[in-house]
């Protein structure tokens, strides 16, 4: 049977189109400009010139003035970390989606499919609830560690169970789906038993938001991406073999399939858990980001990984811009906007090639 989703995706850029390296370079430039543009959007009346002026003050020591101080604070303390966290979180989640889809050879999976995000979500919700019950404000470190701990435990159980069945892709998928349901239910349970204040906090958090972005969070995600992305790019060839040739043929092509899968899943777990613990649940980007990237640069992971990061980053960045602009001054959480933009976009991707009839 023809696969509906993949039939909608092109193989490689056709002749006459720009090279994929050029597209990725252009994507990076667009990303930088988009981050700058997103800082402008809001009620404070900040212009693009103000953004570059602020950057010049902090990077090149250009002198500031008292009248500019308020603008400078809004840019550096609110808008810029928010824009950067949005972009970096989107990049991390999208790259995680690219890796998971390749490893499981399934275009419908994302970090959610292995139950990673729901587990991280429950871990964070539990940390918030327990901290509030103890009369403390939950620290970000405790929330991160709790999110990371639960998603690591889930991934270890998933991999353990899957390895008993010789780690077949379908086994991973089925076990992951079971954990998805389990942790969705557990997160609902924490909401059910939480008091009013904690409930509001957990619910707000489960929407997925970059409202409270800090430079500390930007730094953590930046360092994480700086470490993991080069490694993932270096494993792109192995990922190609697993994704396109299958486990058995990939092994015969010289790839240590079990080890590659284990290490890549650990990388994805860490990326997902850290991002989810900062931003809450932003689910759709891990699914849609890779598909948008595949549409532009094809399926080769040597190009798909970098462009997937760019696509996911831009998706969340612009979702946040839309969330701030539509009902200004009310800010719609980015998780809601991503789902509202992502779902129709995804359906359009599937249907645009008119391939349903072929399936």
């Amino acid at each position: 049977m023809t696969n509906v989703l993949t039939r909608a995706l092109p193989a490689v850029p056709r002749r006459g189109r720009p090279s994929r390296s050029l597209i990725i370079g252009a994507g990076l430039v667009v990303s930088l400009l988009s981050v700058a543009l997103s800082v402008v959007v809001g009620t404070a009346g900040i212009g693009l010139g103000d953004v570059f002026h602020t950057i010049a003050i902090h990077l090149f020591g250009v002198p500031s003035t008292d009248s500019f101080r308020r603008t400078e604070v809004i840019v550096t303390e609110l808008r810029l970390p928010r824009a950067l966290l949005a972009f970096l979180a989107g990049a991390a989640l999208s790259v995680s989606g690219v890796v998971m889809q390749g490893l499981l050879r399934n275009p419908l999976v994302s970090p959610y499919t292995l139950g990673l995000s729901p587990a991280a979500s429950f871990g964070a919700a539990l940390a918030i609830m327990l901290s509030n019950k103890a009369g403390n404000t939950p620290s970000s470190l405790v929330t991160i560690l709790s999110a990371l701990g639960f998603s690591l435990v889930v991934s270890l159980i998933v991999l353990g169970v899957a390895s008993m069945k010789r780690m077949k892709a379908v086994t991973l998928l089925l076990v992951g789906m079971a954990f998805f349901q389990l942790f969705e239910a557990l997160t609902s349970a924490t909401q059910f038993f939480a008091d009013e204040n904690t409930l509001a906090e957990i619910v707000h958090w489960t929407f997925g938001s970059v409202n409270d972005a800090t430079w500390h969070q930007v730094l953590v995600v930046s360092v994480l991406l700086a470490v993991t992305l080069p490694y993932l790019f270096a494993r792109a060839k192995a990922l190609n073999a697993i994704a396109f040739a299958g486990d058995d043929a990939a092994a015969s092509l010289g790839v240590n399939v079990s080890r590659t899968r284990l290490v890549l899943i650990v990388v994805v777990v860490v990326l997902t858990a850290v991002v989810v613990s900062f931003t809450g649940v932003i689910g759709f980007v891990g699914l849609v980001g890779p598909h948008i990237a595949r549409l532009v640069v094809g399926s080769d992971h040597r190009y798909l990984l970098p462009f997937g990061a760019i696509a996911g980053g831009l998706l969340i960045l612009y979702a946040d811009v839309v969330g701030r602009a539509v009902l200004s001054p009310v800010v719609i959480p980015v998780g809601i906007v991503v789902a509202l933009i992502g779902a129709p976009l995804f359906i359009n991707l599937v249907l645009s090639k008119g391939t349903l009839a072929q399936s």
Binding site: N3, T6, R7, G102, N240, D248, G298
Partner: protein, 274 residues
């Protein structure tokens, strides 16, 4: 100059032994068919040779090299494995698919020499006209040829095929086997194919090994090995043997339905099988 399999045994679990004391010697330029009913161990043996499954008992050597001791990337330069063609999950062009065969040879980016090998493999398999097409848009036979081209691009000395013709219609089965036979002879390879069709194996393979319950019960030229009593015991089915153009052919004896001729189908023309 041989592939030598000695005392190989394998089990997926303690209670499920799949291969017992398998011994096999295949010379360069020989195309060997692994035959046997489902569960007889032919695919498992192929996967052990391809290092998909890990060898724990016995030895597999090729020209005095223990294949299990080679690094995986070195092993991949000696042994290529062709699985059964399936629906691709992600779209990839023919050229990119064949490039996967160069995985053991390049780092991050393929070199010009890799692309030259890829294009030569594509040409060899008659796929040049469709090199930029997506594999998902090809017919089953063409997609299977892409997998063989990928193995050719791997520049192996041993070519393994695991039931590559199971999902193909008769024409593509014949076409695939003809390509593999020609490759084996042209490049002086050792080729082994796990296959169900006794008649195609008899027509294209130089030798066949018949497996039953994880053991090789017969090995040699098809004309010598195909024995009515042996095949009936292995497959649990009454068969007839006859010869056509020098190749032994096997026919299951099936009770004719009332009102139909006992041999209502026409045999393949000999020209289709050479």
């Amino acid at each position: 100059m041989t592939l030598s399999v000695e005392g190989v045994a394998f089990s997926y679990s303690r209670s499920r032994a799949v291969l017992h004391d398998v011994n096999l010697t295949v010379r360069r330029g020989e195309f060997v068919g692994l035959l046997g009913p489902n569960g007889s161990g032919k695919s498992t043996l192929t996967k052990l040779l391809a290092r998909v499954n890990r060898l724990r008992t016995g030895s597999i050597s090729f020209e005095d090299r223990q294949l299990g001791r080679l690094r995986m990337s070195e092993h991949a330069k000696v042994v290529a494995y062709v699985p059964q063609s399936g629906e691709p999950t992600f779209q990839l062009s023919v050229r990119e698919s064949v490039l996967l065969g160069r995985t053991p040879y390049f780092g991050m980016r393929p070199r010009r020499a890799d692309w030259e090998v890829v294009d030569a493999a594509i040409e060899h398999m008659g796929l040049t006209d469709m090199a930029s097409r997506s594999v998902g848009d090809l017919s089953g036979g063409q997609a299977q040829r892409v997998l063989v081209a990928r193995a050719v691009a791997q520049e192996p000395e041993i070519l393994l095929l695991d039931e590559p013709t199971s999902a193909l219609d008769l024409r593509y089965q014949v076409e695939t086997l003809r390509h593999v036979r020609d490759l084996t002879r042209g490049r002086n390879l050792v080729s082994l194919i796990a296959i169900h069709d006794l008649n195609l194996a008899a027509r294209f393979c130089d030798k066949v090994a018949i497996l039953q319950g994880g053991r090789i019960v017969a090995f040699g030229r098809p004309n010598e090995v195909y024995d009515r009593e042996l095949l009936e015991e292995v497959y649990g089915l009454e068969v007839d043997l006859f010869e056509r153009d020098g190749a032994v052919q096997v026919h299951p004896v099936i009770e004719a339905r009332p009102g139909t001729a006992p041999h209502g189908h026409a045999p393949l023309p000999a020209s289709a099988l050479t």
